[in-house]
Each structure stands twice: as structure tokens, then as C-alpha cells.
């Protein structure tokens, strides 16, 4: 999960990643509760602290436990549909506690020089929230069964979810490698960077090896998704990811995710595949590979 402190107007807001353990802790805090959606515009005109936006890093459907992107703190109201479904909003105490806990997880991203100003803004916002608070309610606990990855090959392609990627906050900062490995890093991820093995040679062996350092494999073992690598020789690389529907999706650079090729034809996975679809100048097909479920890139 990515947390963004929504506080600045002109400069970019600080963001940081939650570890798996912290993400689970957050899910346990607010699962099945009504929270404001991330794109809620209430309070958008406020200068200063407007809440903490929490967004999933992958596009897999998280079920009905949490929305894929939501807002904690600030003036935005909880999602009306969630309230109508009988979910309770967080109390002021719960919001206060969760905001402070989230801020503590991002101390490294906020930095000492910003911490004092942020603290003052947040305290003022939380005081306002508390004054408008009705009765406190107990936190509903939720357990999450993470399961265990099987050692045998399990293809776990997820359904196509372009709405996750094609937003102003996500689309410009995530490329084909982010999309194929299903990991939003907001860094325009490069093969080998997260594992300390960056590559600058635009050829199949070098790009493939860099991705292998990050976790990609030629042999399926455990839970994986299908991906494919192609090359514009000496210039660039491109990745595709297969979806549960059977077709292939991809995201050319900072453009929108889609499931069609350069001829605007569906890459249907049978007659049209990454190996034979219209790829423009990306003329070299390197082959199909496996990307482990949960693989991270940067």
C-alpha cells in the first residue's frame, strides 16, 4: 500500500510504502468500516492537511474489505454507499489514532524539517473532528487469511482492472514494468533496480536477466502470473501481462493501460498474442515468463 500525506498545494505531497505487516495492521484497524474514498472532493479547497490517502499497490480486487484507495482524516465524509450498507464510520478517536499511526510509519518520508508544520496542521484538523464527534464505538476486528503459497505451479492471473492504473495520480508515474508485474511503485520502475542489478542494454538477455534478479523466472514455481517481454533493439523494452479473462494487457510508458495492440485489435490470447500482435518498433519477442504473485518492483 502507498500512503500519501495530502497537505501541499504546489509541491508534490510526501508518499511512502507500507510494509506487508503494516498494511495488514491497517486493514485490521479499518476493515469493513465506512471511510472516505480517495477522490472525495470534500475539503479539497482546504489549504493544509486534507487527510492521508491510502492506495493499493496492485490492481487485484481486494474484495469488500477495503476500497482500493481511501482517505483517512481531513474533512471528507465517509462513502455514502458504505454507510448505507450498514458500515460504521470511524470514530474521532479511531481516526485520530489511525492518522498518528500512519504518520509514524512515514516519518522517514516526511522528514524532520516538515514534521513540525505537518504536526500543527494535523493537530488542528483532529481537534475540529473531535469537536464534531458523536458517541464513540468499538472497533470491529477483522482477520485476514493470507494463505500459503503452494510450491507447485499455480497460475493466478487477475482480472483486467484498467481503472486502477488510468488515473491522474497513477498513470504518469507507472510504466509497462509496473503494470506487468502488477505493482504500483510511482517510480516508473526499471528491471533490476529494486534488486540492485540495473541494466542499460536494451536486448532480451540483459533486460530479462535484470527482471530475473527482481523475481521473474522462466520456470513456474508457486503462485505466478504470465508476463511477456519484447524489445525495440537498442532503444527500449516493453512488457505484457495476461489477465484472468484470457486476453493480454499492457501499459505503454505513461499512457493508459489497455488490452489492444498498435492495430487497435484485442490481444485475445489465442489468435493474437504478445508474440504476433502489432508492436510497432518493438520487433523482437523475447519470450514468455512468470512473475511471482506479490513481486515488487521499483
Amino acid at each position: 500500500m502507498i500512503v500519501t500525506l495530502d497537505i501541499f498545494s504546489g509541491r508534490r505531497n510526501p508518499s511512502w510504502m507500507l510494509s506487508d505487516k503494516k498494511a495488514k495492521e491497517l486493514a485490521d484497524r479499518i476493515a469493513h468500516r465506512a471511510v472516505a474514498l480517495a477522490d472525495s472532493e470534500d475539503g479539497g479547497h482546504i489549504l493544509g492537511f486534507r487527510g492521508l490517502v491510502v492506495a493499493a499497490t496492485g490492481d487485484a480486487d481486494g474484495g469488500d474489505v477495503l476500497p482500493s484507495a481511501f482517505r483517512i482524516g481531513g474533512a471528507a465524509a465517509p462513502d455514502v454507499q458504505a454507510l448505507q450498507a450498514g458500515r460504521r464510520a470511524l470514530t474521532a478517536d479511531e481516526t485520530d489514532d489511525t492518522v498518528r499511526w500512519l504518520l509514524a510509519t512515514g516519518a522517514h518520508a516526511i522528514g524532520d524539517h516538515l514534521a513540525a508544520a505537518v504536526h500543527e496542521d494535523v493537530e488542528a484538523s483532529l481537534r475540529g473532528l473531535r469537536e464534531a464527534e458523536p458517541a464513540a464505538e468499538a472497533i470491529e476486528e477483522s482477520e485476514r487469511d493470507l494463505g500459503a503459497a503452494a510450491a507447485a505451479c499455480l497460475i493466478a492471473n487477475t482480472r483486467c482492472n484498467p481503472a486502477f492504473w488510468n488515473t491522474a495520480a497513477v498513470q504518469p508515474h507507472n510504466n509497462c514494468y509496473n503494470y506487468a508485474m502488477n505493482y504500483r511503485s510511482d517510480t516508473f520502475a526499471q528491471p533490476g533496480r529494486i534488486s540492485g542489478h540495473p541494466n542499460s542494454v536494451m536486448a532480451c538477455p540483459q533486460v530479462g536477466a535484470a527482471a530475473n534478479w527482481d523475481g521473474c523466472t522462466a520456470v513456474c514455481n508457486g503462485s505466478n502470473k504470465n508476463v511477456a517481454l519484447v524489445i525495440w533493439p537498442g532503444v527500449d523494452y516493453h512488457w505484457y501481462r495476461r489477465h484472468a479473462e484470457g486476453f493480454w494487457g499492457h501499459k505503454p510508458g505513461s499512457t493508459a493501460a489497455r488490452n489492444v495492440d498498435n492495430a487497435n485489435q484485442l490481444i485475445n490470447g489465442s489468435t493474437r498474442t504478445p508474440a504476433n500482435c502489432n508492436r510497432g518498433s518493438y520487433t523482437v519477442f523475447c519470450g514468455y515468463r512468470f512473475s511471482p504473485t506479490g513481486m515488487r518492483v521499483r
Binding site: S9, G10, N175, C176, Y177, F188, Q190, P191, M202, V207, W232, P233, G234, V235, D236, Y237, H238, W239, K251, P252, G253, S254, T255, A256, R258, V260, D261, N262, N264, R279, G280, S281, Y282, T283
Partner: protein
Amino acid sequence: MVEIELDAFSGRPNPRWPLDDAQAAELLALLADLPAAAPRPHADLGYRGFLVHRGGALAPIRVGAGTVEIDGASHADRRAAEAWLLRNARALGWAAVVEGVVPP
């Protein structure tokens, strides 16, 4: 400062370079007061056009396929801003990329 981004790559970051003041003024004049046009078709792998970064909180202007997109609205590239940008990119050594040349 106005910066140009050549939108052509998928994996690697796109090439990006600054314009001097005279170039920036010339280009922005080409992009002013353009008539409305239908949105461009979907973007492909390979050369897609240019992004003109104007600095500050202004969203970049997208130029390509005969259209100019400013703040979500599409306009006709009536003054050939894309051709101007292509000349600029070629002069900086990006001819093979904008033409989609594949090495033998």
C-alpha cells in the same frame, strides 16, 4: 522554464530537454488560441508525440497526431507545433526514435 518530453518509450523514461526563452516563446505562440478538435485516437507503442511541460502546477500540453491537448481539451494543431517539435527533437539526435527506426 519550458521542457519538452519526447513521448516514445514504454519501459525507459522518455527523453526530456529544456527550451531556451526564445524557443519557448516561439512554441507557446504556436499553441495559443487553437480551434477545438476531436480527441486523438488511442496512443500506441513507439512515437506518440510530445509533452510540453510549462512548469509549476500547470498540466503538460500534449502534442501529437495532429492534435494539441491542453487541460483535457483537444484542439487542432493548426500552426504545425508538432512539426516544430519534430525538428527540435531531430536536431538533438532523436531522429531514429521519432521515425521508429529498428536497427538491422
